[in-house]
Symmetry: C2
Subunit: 333 residues, 2 copies
Amino acid sequence: MSTIKDVAEAAGVSIATVSRALHGLPRVSEATRQRVLAAAAELRYVASPSAASLASGQTNAIGVVAPFVNRWYFAAIVHSAEERLRMAGYDLLLYSLGTDAHERRRAFSGTLLRKRVDGVLVLGLHPTAEEAAALSAVGGPVAIVGADVPGWASVRIDDADAARCAVRHLLGLGHRRIGFIGGADPLHTAMPADRRTGYRAELAAVGLPDTSGLEAVGGFTVGGGYAAAVRLLALPDPPTALFAASDEMAMGAVQAARRAGFRVPEDVSVIGIDDHEMAELMDLTTVAQPVVAQGVLAAEMILTALTDPERPLPAVKVPTELVVRGTTGPAPG
Amino acid sequence: MSTIKDVAEAAGVSIATVSRALHGLPRVSEATRQRVLAAAAELRYVASPSAASLASGQTNAIGVVAPFVNRWYFAAIVHSAEERLRMAGYDLLLYSLGTDAHERRRAFSGTLLRKRVDGVLVLGLHPTAEEAAALSAVGGPVAIVGADVPGWASVRIDDADAARCAVRHLLGLGHRRIGFIGGADPLHTAMPADRRTGYRAELAAVGLPDTSGLEAVGGFTVGGGYAAAVRLLALPDPPTALFAASDEMAMGAVQAARRAGFRVPEDVSVIGIDDHEMAELMDLTTVAQPVVAQGVLAAEMILTALTDPERPLPAVKVPTELVVRGTTGPAPG
DNA sequence: CTGAAAGCGCTTACAG
DNA sequence: CTGAAAGCGCTTACAG
């Protein structure tokens, strides 16, 4: 492995000049620059990131903290953010937490991130004030997707709004008994509470404030959504529509309804939130959120903050959109 | 941010002793070690990874090269490998290539990885001999999932075998006109060819060597599988069964069949490979492959190679298993 | 435009 | 058991 010294010798200049030439800094003559570039290419020189970091104080890496990478929402955002960050020359360090509280503590304490990344991208987690402070102390800019935290850049949808939109759609179809399948996420994902709030608010607005018995926990998985729907549909007076706080839970609910002998949407309507990649396939009505855009936007917020630390960090809400497909229809009777 | 010097002063020892104590090396008295640990905790000291790497020559990071992270197979493997590697104290650097040939070249050339990681995990790609040589030149051990490369550790399923198993299931149900929906992946994923080979071989073995006109390209996406199925089912003499080289394509095929007025499985059977997380929900018959196990196994191969560079690198094939669900049934007529 | 030199914060033989 | 010191490979003022 060649070092900067080898390149310097080959080009007949000092290592300082090699460094400048390779970084495209001014105050290097064109002739020298060409000689250096040629020598570097010839020797297949790659600068040592460790040495560069140590000397410059920058790591050229961004940490991504997410509860999972193997769920549609997170995978899509990681993918789009990675693409944007790599374009800008940054590496991506992945920290997926799973459901382990200990891992979460480690990640947010900064032990894992400190001195290792220039900035942090947090996905779909709702940090406590303490955690937020700890992560901020890591140093670089932090951007969060799916929630907002004072002092951080953020990009998210309006969860309460999205939920109200879904419920409004069902109300418009004549439904009055509308069940909710929500989260109860051990990792404090931001959305469950807000989406439930929206659900309740929209029903209260039309004089249906009593949702007791109509709410079930789905844990944001297909299986959880399935189980929750089974429970709600087994009620003596079952709901005629189910609103799930995510498409994955909604898909589980559709399947549960069909297996229990309900026709969808004739006997029971189902709506989700996301517009998951499989939603069209399952003909699922949903409130779509733009994931690629959120990932790219968050990445760009970090990049901007990195080049211009003075600029205030933006908090953006991206719009959602009702996508009507085949799992919702007029209330029966 | 405190440095090793701060800890040394606080504990009243040299930085060499701090380093030893913190790494749990021998030749440090218990009393000293405790004093150092206390001082480090007090100062919230975190060692600089850059400095440590530069001095030790190890990065404590593993690079993961994958074409995508937002597809079930890759996301699941990344997730499980990450968990295992982090347990061992390694960071994960993510390089997702997308479909960009230029990105692929960069990743495999080693420019991105050299001096940056101790080992590399390659997922679902079939490197050319040239690319393999370039990646090997990066230095550390390389493990590959979903293919095998001489000189690398590998873990995969037997793709031809899995395909034959799927086709055998269909033959056993009396099907004779069996369509194939395969890959044509711009990134040279390993599997398409092998799975097609298995499909052809199994048919040839029962005297049905002519598959011309029965093969279609699905690109490993739901939409691609849908389009491929539309084409095959529009044939004058359409197949009575479809074998898709992945569950995502199979799901698309099921939907396409239903929308075209075919009952599944009465009119047409569909089988995939994977046991995708949504496969049960869609009641899809498939040949299951263990993804979590493959990710963990590959991670462990790298860890072993890192601690014991002498040991020969294993090439493991993990078993697959036919999972019969509701999308396959007896051939009509 | 270019170079000599300090310094980034560690690890690791080498002495003792 | 402990410390002084060299060295890892860069970047970046500072001179010239």
